[in-house]
Symmetry: C2
């Protein structure tokens, strides 16, 4: 199975953009709702809202905006900036997959053939967040 490649961008002032936030934005667009987008990932409304709020403050314009009122009480949608950020991130990911294919294939060829022991039941204690290690 080819590797799934994830891109994480660390900008200055601790501003981070990665797979998770982009997927949440895509879900907001799909569902027209922050609450529904959060639910898709088993996230509380508060957590989803905090992430959207962080994203809104991270860029020069909000990425998610309230949409209409109307019968269904309105919802949320991506702004032009939001759509642009999602598109740029996904384009960068595509470029990466194409550009680094040789190295990634070579890494894959070095993997153990039996993965039975390599996948602990609870991977979290071994899940090293890049944030824990400098540089």
């Amino acid at each position: 199975m080819p590797a799934n490649v994830t891109l994480r961008l660390d900008f200055d002032a601790g501003r981070r953009l990665g797979h998770g936030k982009i997927a949440l934005l895509e879900a907001v667009e799909r569902h027209g709702s922050i609450a529904a987008a959060g639910r898709e990932f088993g996230m509380s409304y508060r957590r989803a809202w905090l992430l959207v709020d962080e994203l809104n403050r991270m860029f020069s314009a909000p990425m998610v905006a309230a949409r209409g009122g109307g019968r269904n009480g309105g919802g949320a949608a991506l702004t032009e900036t939001g759509s642009r950020v999602v598109a740029l991130y996904r384009a960068a990911e595509k470029t990466i997959l194409a550009g680094a294919a040789a190295e990634i294939d070579a890494l894959e060829a070095l993997l153990a053939t039996s993965a039975a022991d390599a996948s602990p039941a609870d991977p979290s204690p071994l899940d090293l967040s890049p944030g824990e290690l400098p540089g």
Copy 2:
């Protein structure tokens, strides 16, 4: 400030390779010791050892091996496979930086100029691990 780009590879069976593990391997090589490598990142010996153990099982050959005995009680070093994996990962990262520079620059240009509000005192509750979101 240009963005720091981090590459994360998710292979099958939950096998993951990212910045953190690669940095740990580089530190093992630098210090000649798993314990010292862990200390560099404020990690307990147990945690560093578990990560190395996971890496050793992930690939077709161990990535870290015990080195000599002798007066100083021996230590640890990268194997040929270990060195190769680190080199391939770093090469992929370089290719990415070059290949996706246009998209990353465009994302950077969209950032808010004042980052004061974008960096919470404790970012951890907002630090969305990609593992939490599927696809």
